[in-house]
């Protein structure tokens, strides 16, 4: 997100007069409710507010203790306060909300005497060039697309298929050629042989045979071309998807987490499809249609330019009409789609809430609600269909209107013996060939832009560099489990650190419990140890090696993770347990399940380890899933174990069973555990209490209790809670 805008000259000089260096300069657009044009400028020691280029406020940043980003309804404010004062600095529309969130953080860190980092990772929603919003889930502006660059990219995709594509193009041209020959044969047939003067039946048969042969060749070539193209499109789709998917898997978690699942799926399936369709259909068809159009137009003009005009003059009108109708139909069907969507969601809503409907005796009301929307839908649909079925036949009629003139004009020429009947027939047949390409060309720009944008979006992913780089070679060196966290500072957004200057040393086999309120940085700590993110400052060492210098595969293969939200893939229990180590023996699998206290419940299922789970299979309870996840984690025999709220979502009894399993699991492993129920962490070698990203307490359970600090408070609060619950 942009935090440093180009300022108008006057403003810039005004600030330079003060000898200040500009850190941030951002526009604001409201004064409470009234629209204004203004700039908010932050330097090392001052902030400036300009309204219509005029300085209306300049203040020392440290005059206030805290800066607040206030999100109101439909807009936001930047406010500042100290012990006596509170003041509204500026207001802004929703476009700048995230920007001022960052600005507030920056101002606050200046107040706290930190040197702020002026970077904001939040992405803009609008194209920086033209200000138009990006299409959903994309950072490519359709207007400012550099077509040259995209063409080059498209070419790199097409390159491996050039040969079959040229072949299909050649086949299509031969079809066009044949199509052009046929009318000539008709002309010869009519002019020279279908006259009583020239009674040559063999010649007639020969010509008819020629026409038949053309038609056969046409069909055969078409079949060959289609089969070829199907093969090419399938392999283009496969290659593209494979490339995009492999790339996504290699990207860092920060990239993937910043995007919605649906968006990524759309890149892998939707965009690749669009590009494939464009390459395999539009390009070759396009070239052919264009060629047909040009050749036919020339032929018509050469044959008889006056008659050609009858056909060509209405063409621009027809194109315009086509475009206009296209728009109308689109919005017509769009509204129909909206209503049908509404009817469907209403239906979904009512059916899933049917118990509530019945419990309140509201059946009749719901029936009338649905029948109302159904009626609207049926009315709109009928209306649209009526319009469509009225307009299109007339359009067809209009397109054919030129041929009446030709018939009349051509007929009169024949009577004057200036034209032969065969010529007229040939001419009419050629004129029929012109409408297809015309109709197609009106839609071409749209599908062309679609394909370019899709290409650009695919390359957006392909060119993304993983933030967490995997540079070290694979060594298969075993890890002992020494973990050292050395002055680590990290934030998901660089100006907003979540962990500050953390130090920690863990010996192999020790268990470290992480304690703190939500948002204190516990999970972040674990993310860093797993190296899902790279630290901003400091180092994390495993067995005295910086984790950046350990190959990721080596690292992860010796880490086991059990998370609160257990994710099991669709498949059998067995497949899920051996996920990370497919070559494990059956004995190892059962042993792992036993350690995880899962073996017994698995054996109670009719299909035991071969039970299908997931969407289409048996539903397991939260505790059961958790135990399978533990078995999965243990099968790898990891040296470092990570338990992130592994027992948070189960009842007390199950928790006991899981605790028991975990007790066995953590033996001889370096373990990091997060748990809300502090009793779970009683066996930890050391506990770390985190607060606002800093370690505030460190020691054993007993030491920390004696200290009567934050940990003591948390334990007591939980005791209270358990008491009241009982």
């Amino acid at each position: 997100m942009k935090l440093l805008y180009k300022l108008p000259q006057d403003i810039e000089t005004r600030i330079k007069e003060d000898g200040e260096q500009i850190l941030c300069a951002t526009p604001y657009d409201l004064e409470i409710q009234q629209p204004v044009n203004g700039f908010f400028v932050v330097t090392r020691s001052y902030f400036y507010i300009f309204k219509n280029k005029e300085l209306i406020r300049k203040e020392k940043i440290t005059r206030y203790k805290e800066y607040h980003h206030v999100l109101a309804v439909g807009f936001g404010h930047l406010e500042a306060s100290n012990d006596e004062e509170e003041t509204l600095l500026i207001s802004f529309s929703m476009r700048h909300v995230n920007r001022y969130q960052s600005i507030a953080t920056i101002l606050n860190s200046i107040v706290e005497n930190h040197v702020p980092k002026i970077v904001s990772d939040d992405e803009e929603n609008n194209c920086p060039k033209c200000g138009r919003p990006y299409r959903f889930g994309s950072r490519v502006c359709r207007h400012c697309l550099n077509k040259k660059v995209v063409f080059k990219r498209l070419y790199t995709i097409i390159k491996p298929y050039l040969l079959p594509l040229f072949l299909s193009l050649f086949l299509m041209w031969s079809i066009t050629g044949i199509n052009l020959v046929t009318p000539t044969l008709h002309r010869i047939l009519v002019n020279d042989y279908l006259t009583p003067k020239n009674k040559n039946l063999t010649a007639i048969l020969l010509i008819i045979g020629g026409i038949g042969l053309c038609s056969l060749a046409n069909t055969v070539i078409n079949v060959i071309k289609n089969r070829l193209m199907i093969k090419v499109s399938a392999s283009i789709t496969y290659d593209l998807r494979q490339t995009v998917y492999t790339k996504i898997q290699s990207l860092s978690i920060s990239y993937i987490e910043n995007r919605k699942t649906g968006e990524l799926m759309n890149r892998i399936t939707g965009d690749t499809n669009r590009v494939q369709h464009f390459i395999s259909n539009e390009i070759s068809i396009g070239i052919t249609q264009l060629l047909t159009l040009v050749v036919v137009t020339i032929l018509l003009l050469v044959l008889n330019w006056k008659m050609a005009l009858f056909i060509l003059i209405p063409v621009p009108f027809i194109i315009l009409y086509f475009r206009f109708m296209n728009q109308t139909f689109r919005s017509m069907y769009h509204s129909q789609w909206r209503i049908s969507d509404r009817a469907n969601s209403l239906l979904h809503d009512i059916l899933s809430g049917i118990r509530v409907v019945k419990a309140f005796g509201m059946e009749e009301k719901e029936v009338s609600r649905f029948s109302k929307i159904s009626k609207t839908l049926s009315d709109v649909t009928a209306n649209n269909e009526k319009r469509y079925n009225t307009i299109f036949p007339f359009l067809n009629y209009l397109m054919g209107i030129g041929s009446f003139f030709i018939l009349y004009y051509g007929g009169s020429l024949i009577l004057k013996e200036k034209l032969q009947l065969g010529d007229l027939i040939q001419f009419t047949q050629y004129s029929q060939l012109i409408y297809g390409p015309l109709g197609w060309l009106t839609f071409f720009p749209r599908s062309f832009t679609n394909a370019l944008t899709a290409t650009e979006r695919i390359f957006e992913i392909l060119e993304e560099e993983p933030k967490v780089k995997n540079l070290a070679p694979e060594t298969n060196l075993p890890i002992e489990g020494n973990v050292k966290v050395d002055h680590v500072t990290f934030g998901y957004r660089p100006y907003d650190p979540v962990l500050k200057d953390i130090n920690l040393e863990v010996k192999p086999g020790e268990m470290i419990g992480l304690v703190g309120h939500s948002g204190a940085g516990k999970s972040t700590m674990i993310n860093l140890i797993m190296r899902l993110y790279d630290v901003d400052e400091g180092k994390i060492l495993i067995d005295n090696r910086d984790i950046k210098e350990i190959n990721q595969k080596d690292l992860r293969s010796q880490m086991g993770v059990v998370l609160q939200e257990t994710f099991l893939f669709a498949g059998t229990i067995y497949q899920n347990i051996v996920y990370a180590r497919p070559n494990a023996t059956l004995e190892e699998v059962i042993k792992a399940a036993k350690i995880a206290n899962a073996h017994d419940f698995i054996m109670k299922l009719p299909d035991a380890y071969d039970t299908r789970i997931g969407e289409k299979g048996v539903r397991l309870s939260g505790g059961e899933k958790q135990r399978i996840a533990i078995a999965r984690a243990i099968l790898n025999n990891p040296k470092i174990l990570i338990l992130d709220e592994a027992t948070a979502s189960v009842d007390t009894e199950t928790e006991y069973i899981i605790q028991e399993a975990l007790g066995r699991l953590i033996k001889d492993r370096t373990t990091f555990a997060i748990a809300h129920r502090l009793s779970t962490l009683r066996n930890a070698t050391k506990l770390i209490v985190l607060d606002k990203g800093k370690v505030i307490e460190y020691g054993t359970h007993d030491e920390l209790l004696k200290k009567q600090g934050k940990y003591y408070q948390l334990v007591m609060a939980q005791k209270e809670l358990t008491k009241t619950r009982e």
Partner: protein, 162 residues
Amino acid sequence: MSEITYLKPKNAKFFRNNNGFLGLKFNDVEYSRVNLIKAFPFSYENKFISVRDKEQNEIGIIEDISLFPEEVQKLFTEEIERRYYLPKITKIYSIKDEFGYSNWEVETNYGRRKFTIRRDPNNFVNIKANMILIIDVDGNRYEIPDYTKLDKKSFKKIELLL
């Protein structure tokens, strides 16, 4: 807990604090700054307005703004303007569709505006009879208070969306 504490002119004294924000003295407690939050921002704009302290705890509810004297009402309006911003569309100049988005150019009670909405039913919501709430790509909101009262040309432009 379930009782509603009503703030009435008799027991609740609203004032403008030194910093220009709304303050309240109620039951001998002085709140240097309070926030007003509408319970029914679309259906009953001026009724049931929750008065909250800095920590967002409810102090009480104003049943109807009009129960208070005019100068207090003015204070309310000021505070409400700081919290709610919803330009009202009075005229529609153009709506142009473009790749699944539509670009609008309209006249509002705050002047002429241009904005873009993504074509998604959630961005064009019928909150109550004849009223439409429009949400643009940035999250800005616009209101058509009563589309039947729009001029004919404007109405024609949104007719298909209804």
